[in-house]
């Protein structure tokens, strides 16, 4: 007798799942999007990619635009971190990886093996500006130099009205309050690039190794760009380093940085100028960049990072290669890079951009 009950329950359960599946839709009604998605040569299929969290929202927008134009394509990106992204790529779980730094020498052999008979290459695709976001009431404009930034985050400058800050900001009312500085508690490429900047421009005040983990003591740590942003908005007299897109979304003020050539505001355009001036250190199709953090041009914002898409020159399985190439061709193109500025990211321009388009065109 109890079997009948069991059967009834089972039937009910299956019916519920079936009804739910029928109810939902997998494709939402497409809403009109602003940008034109001209010249996408569609390829159907599905690929996976993973890696950097810094480019998460940018890749998300690109995927949406591509999928809207090509309804037969599905691209899934998991922002599980640059390190995990490279591991996934090397283990053949993904078609390309997003990474905040180029492939290290120790990872190259495994990545090349994955791409046999081709090799693994870094293609810079998304730039980011690391802003000095702050939350001080009444302070609408702030200028900082690398030395002062290093000392703030090193806990040597502890008050907002310290002489060093006041000297750079004549006329601003700086409160007599302790600076609440925030850094990243998790490992991140943003910390990596920020520490590289400080090491290059203020080594005397930043005696630490560069790396993805925050090295200094003092201050408070929050998890993720979103965590630091939330901490900044809820803590008065605070300062932290976050990506431009997060600062814009949260409407936080950002400091101008004076590298020696004048105070430069943190905007996409200014950051793009710095990236465009980078030197390419990779060989052949590999486009690993060396950023010049000490740049002193009056319209170049120096604290930037570049996220690479790491993929194979050839050697991806046939069903993944075509869609990967098509997607990356789209993202390297003008319309896609223009979307970045809206989102608070930084486009790759100039000579680097030309090389990127070349490398993508040569993918097999």
């Amino acid at each position: 007798m109890h079997f009948t009950h069991t059967a009834r329950f089972a039937a009910l359960g299956v019916a519920t799942v079936l009804t739910l599946s029928a109810c939902g839709s997998s494709n939402n009604a497409s809403s009109p999007s602003g940008s034109s998605t001209a010249n996408i040569s569609c390829v159907s299929g599905s690929i996976k990619a993973s890696g950097s969290t810094a480019q998460k929202n940018a890749i998300g927008e690109w995927i949406n635009a591509y999928q809207k134009a090509c309804t037969g394509a599905t691209i899934d990106y998991q922002a599980n971190g640059s390190g995990a992204g490279i591991t996934d790529f090397t283990n053949k779980q993904t078609s390309f990886a997003g990474s905040d730094s180029a492939l290290k020498a120790e990872n190259r052999p495994a990545a090349d093996a994955r791409c046999a008979p081709g090799t693994a290459i870094d293609i810079p695709m998304v730039g980011g500006a690391i802003t000095m976001a702050y939350n001080v009431q009444g302070l609408s404009s702030l200028t900082l130099t690398p030395k002062v930034i290093a000392q703030i985050f090193n806990n040597k400058i502890t008050k907002w009205n310290d002489k060093a800050i006041a000297d750079l900001n004549a006329g601003a009312t700086l409160p007599d309050q302790t600076i609440a500085s925030f850094h990243r508690s998790d490992s991140s490429g943003t910390t990596d690039n920020f520490s590289k900047y400080l090491k290059a421009t203020a080594a005397a005040d930043w005696p630490y190794e560069t790396g993805k983990d925050w090295p200094a003591s003092g201050g408070q740590g929050s998890k993720g760009n979103d965590g630091v942003t939330a901490s900044l908005t809820s803590t008065p007299n605070s300062i932290g380093y976050i990506e431009l897109s997060f600062a814009q979304d949260a409407k936080l003020s950002t400091a101008k940085v004076d590298n020696g050539g004048g105070a430069v505001e943190a905007t996409s355009q200014n950051a793009a100028n710095t990236i465009a001036a980078a030197t390419i250190t990779g060989t052949a199709s590999d486009l690993a960049l060396k950023l010049d953090y000490t740049i002193t041009k009056p319209d170049a914002y120096p604290i930037v990072l570049v996220t690479y898409e790491i993929t194979c020159t050839k050697g991806l399985p046939a069903d993944q290669a075509a869609l990967t190439k098509s997607f990356l061709t789209y993202t390297a193109g003008e319309s896609a890079q223009a979307i970045l500025i809206d989102l608070g990211y930084v486009p790759v321009t100039g000579l680097v951009s030309t090389k990127v388009k070349e490398a993508v065109a040569n993918l097999a």
């Binding site: 799942v17 939402n28 993973s50 779980q93």
Partner: protein, 358 residues
């Protein structure tokens, strides 16, 4: 000589067995006086926040109420009232944050919850724009949890049967020991194991199936434990009557013992499911995230409600954060439905059989 019984009958002497009692209005009066004292004294002590005044009032209340009881009723009753006060205070201390959490989820989640949210996925929805939904995550969670139960419930029940019906000797002691110990395995360790063991070593792809294995590890000991308790409650007379009729042991178990314990077993299984539904860490390690619907748990990326919540929070935009709270609310509703179903099942079975097995 006649004993004058008139006084005894007309006005019974005060009983020596019952002492004086604090009047019923003592509680209310003490509260009022305490609050007045707290508000008045804030002028002197400078403590004027809600929490501070509440603490002062509480202390004043204890002094007045318990002191009064001590003088009137004596130490035993005063201790009793003090204990009741402490327990009630503990209850309030526990309820305030719990209700606050529920309220926060309800308030922020309801702003986003509607039919569209439940039936749309996040495919082609930008992080900055409102809209979209968690349909893809809902399907994923339902499938992963169902698969986990499919693995965990039979094995857990069979293990419990062994421990209760057959278990004597070293194998039983070892199994019982490990089941007890397995209950405490942290969820991240289960996720690490599935990731390093199955994904990295055996090359199993990250999928809904891998996630369900991790969840099954977390569910197994709980199902086994609760089934064990339920089976032990079944009276031995039932078993012996069955044996006396010549029914072999295994049929006794499946046809007599299990059905009587069925209500409790189902309840235990549903509670185990409810506990693992919200686990995030193992899912992040074993599934690959997607924004589109994937009804195939064996291959391909599949979302789930906890990873959906995680993904929306790390996007950082206001619209995404709102969706994250909506996801949390859906999770709580899902678990409420499970609990309610468990109670319903339990009531139905015990009602029908008339046995107070609970």
């Amino acid at each position: 000589m006649s004993v004058d019984i008139a006084p005894l009958v007309m006005s019974p002497p005060p009983s020596v067995l019952q002492g004086r009692r604090q009047p019923r209005w003592a509680l209310g009066a003490s509260v009022v006086i305490a609050v007045v004292i707290a508000l008045a004294s804030s002028v002197f002590t400078g403590i004027d926040g809600v929490a501070g005044t509440a603490v002062v009032a509480a202390i004043a209340f204890v002094v007045i109420y318990i002191g009064w009881s001590l003088r009137l009723e004596g130490r035993r009753h005063a201790t009793d009232r003090f204990a009741t006060t402490l327990i009630t205070t503990a209850l309030v201390c526990a309820l305030v944050p719990l209700v606050s959490v529920l309220w926060t989820v309800l308030e922020r989640g309801l702003a986003v919850l509607n039919l569209a949210f439940l039936t749309n996925s996040m495919r082609n929805v930008s992080a900055r724009s409102t809209g979209g939904g968690l349909f893809h995550a809902l399907i994923g969670t339902i499938e992963q949890v169902a698969l986990a139960s499919l693995v965990a419930v039979p094995i857990g029940v069979l293990t419990a049967i062994y421990l209760v019906e057959y278990g004597r000797g070293r194998a039983a002691t070892a199994i019982s020991f490990f089941v007890d110990v397995m209950v405490g395995v942290p969820s991240i360790v289960a996720g690490l194991f599935i990731f390093t063991g199955l994904v990295l070593t055996l090359g199993l792809p990250r999928s809904g199936l891998a996630a369900s294995f991790a969840l099954a590890i977390l569910m197994l000991p709980v199902v086994s434990r609760t089934t064990e308790e339920m089976l032990r409650v079944v009276p031995n007379d039932l078993r012996e009557a069955s044996y006396a009729l010549g029914i072999p042991k295994w049929r006794t178990i499946t046809k007599v013992v299990l059905p009587s314990a069925l209500a409790g077993i189902i309840t235990g299984a549903m509670l185990a499911v409810a506990r693992v539904t919200g686990e995030t860490a193992p899912l992040l390690l074993t599934t690959f995230l997607t924004q589109s619907v994937n009804t195939n748990p064996v291959e391909g990326p599949q979302a789930s409600i906890p990873t959906f919540v995680w993904d929306q929070i790390t996007s950082g935009t206001a619209a995404s954060l709102a969706r994250a709270w909506g996801g949390a609310l859906v999770l709580i509703l899902f678990v409420t439905v499970l609990y309610a179903t468990a109670r319903l099942v339990s009531w139905w079975f015990t009602g029908r059989r008339g046995m107070g097995v609970h």
